[in-house]
């Protein structure tokens, strides 16, 4: 049966209701196939026609919010980003993302991932902290400096990389590819001065030392963030730091607004309301 000719698909879904079940189990549902259907479209069809109590997370349905990460036919993917035809079979096997506790049906408990993320201070850390809250001007940043971290800033925190990582599968203390990739995103941001603060966490067991470049995180990332690359680049920075060979980078300076130049046709900015 060629992938383009089937009229129905079977959804094999891992279901678990903590109020009724003691353990997750598989359920199968057969729904009509509509050409161009994504896995997420199919889940809505299942909910509409077969299982009204099926639970999952989704939001934007276009691959930018990171809500619908699931294990689809054995690989961690976004349900909204996956065409049913690209799976190569008329059976769609959907399970919740592994390496996270299952709250219900296809909903994983992502709080541990975000706790690890928060521990690595995923925001600009500067000595002049007031500048971030009450900016007096822009930060200088060249296109080259932007390129150093831009790729890693595309992360949508979907958790697919964490599900694919073999180290995160066993080691509870390992931060995981997403937090570590984001730590690198901020370390290489020229506006940031928080390397020493993050190093406190990165030097120990939560750091990138348990990554052995299996590369699964980069393979499954739906946005091409390549956390494996970020982690290896970060290891280089940390080793150079240990050997005291790391060039200390000054955080980007603030570009003061031009003074004394007043163009009458440009109105004054309105007063701040926040």
């Amino acid at each position: 049966m060629s992938a383009k000719s089937f009229t129905e698909v079977t959804y094999r879904i891992r279901r678990y209701n903590p109020e009724r079940d003691s353990a997750p189990h598989w359920e199968e549902y057969r729904i009509p196939y509509i050409p161009g259907m994504t896995v997420l479209d199919g889940l809505w069809k299942v909910k509409e026609l077969r299982a009204p109590d099926l639970a999952w997370r989704s939001s934007c349905r276009m691959g930018v919010c990171g809500s619908c990460g699931m294990l689809i036919n054995g690989k961690a993917r976004l349900a909204c980003n996956t065409q049913v035809t690209e799976l190569g079979s008329d059976t769609v096997v959907v399970a919740p993302l592994p390496n996270f506790d299952i709250v219900r049906d296809l909903v994983p408990e992502l709080a541990p991932m975000f706790d690890n993320h928060r521990a690595l201070q995923p925001h600009l850390v500067r000595e002049d902290a007031r500048e971030l809250d009450e900016p007096t001007g822009e930060f200088y940043q060249s296109a080259h400096e932007l390129e150093q971290y831009l790729q890693f800033s595309y992360c949508i925190k979907c958790g697919c990389c964490m599900a694919a990582c073999p180290t995160y599968a066993t080691d509870a203390l390992y931060s995981g590819p997403m937090p570590l990739g984001q730590a690198h995103r901020y370390n290489t941001d020229s506006r940031d001065g928080g390397f020493a603060a993050r190093r406190e966490v990165l030097a120990g067991e939560a750091g990138p030392w348990r990554c052995h470049y299996a590369g699964e995180c980069s393979r499954v990332c739906p946005k091409g963030v390549d956390p494996a690359k970020a982690i290896q680049l970060m290891k280089r920075e940390l080793v150079l730091d240990y050997l005291r060979l790391r060039k200390a980078k000054c955080p980007a300076k603030v570009a003061a607004k031009p003074s004394g130049v007043r163009r009458p046709e440009i109105p004054e900015a309105p007063a701040k309301t926040v």
Binding site: T167, D171, L202, K235, V239
Partner: protein
């Protein structure tokens, strides 16, 4: 508590040292018929025959390389084993026990091996 940032850097450095010295050791021991280094197998035959062991024992350079290789390989191997065991997420007390056992085994075997290198060198010079 030694931090992983430090230990991992030394793990890599030890790996580089082992690459050179164990490469030589493997060439002498297991590639002796392909890479013909007559100087280390002067009596012909197998590298593990006593005459060849004696010939290598006479050289102080060999003794030194054995001790360096021993130290690097014990650190590299036992740290690697520690990593694999720790990744299986044992309890904190068990982690401390594992670290202690591996440290003791490592130091113990290093002492044994260094004694053997020095004693066999002395023995070889006398024979």
């Amino acid at each position: 508590m030694m931090r992983d940032q430090k230990l991992w850097t030394w793990h890599l450095a030890a790996g580089a040292v082992i690459l050179v010295f164990l490469g030589l050791h493997m060439t002498v021991m297991h590639l002796d018929k392909i890479v013909l280094l007559a100087s280390v197998n002067p009596a012909g035959g197998h590298p593990i025959d006593w005459q060849n062991v004696l010939a290598r024992g006479k050289s102080a350079a060999f003794a030194v390389t054995y001790v360096v290789l021993l130290g690097a390989a014990l650190f590299h191997g036992l740290y690697g084993l520690r990593n694999i065991l720790f990744e299986l997420d044992p309890a904190r007390g068990l982690k401390r026990a594992i670290s202690a056992v591996l440290l003791i085994v490592g130091i113990g075997l290093f002492v044994v091996g260094t004694w053997a290198a020095i004693a066999s060198h002395t023995l070889a010079k006398a024979m």
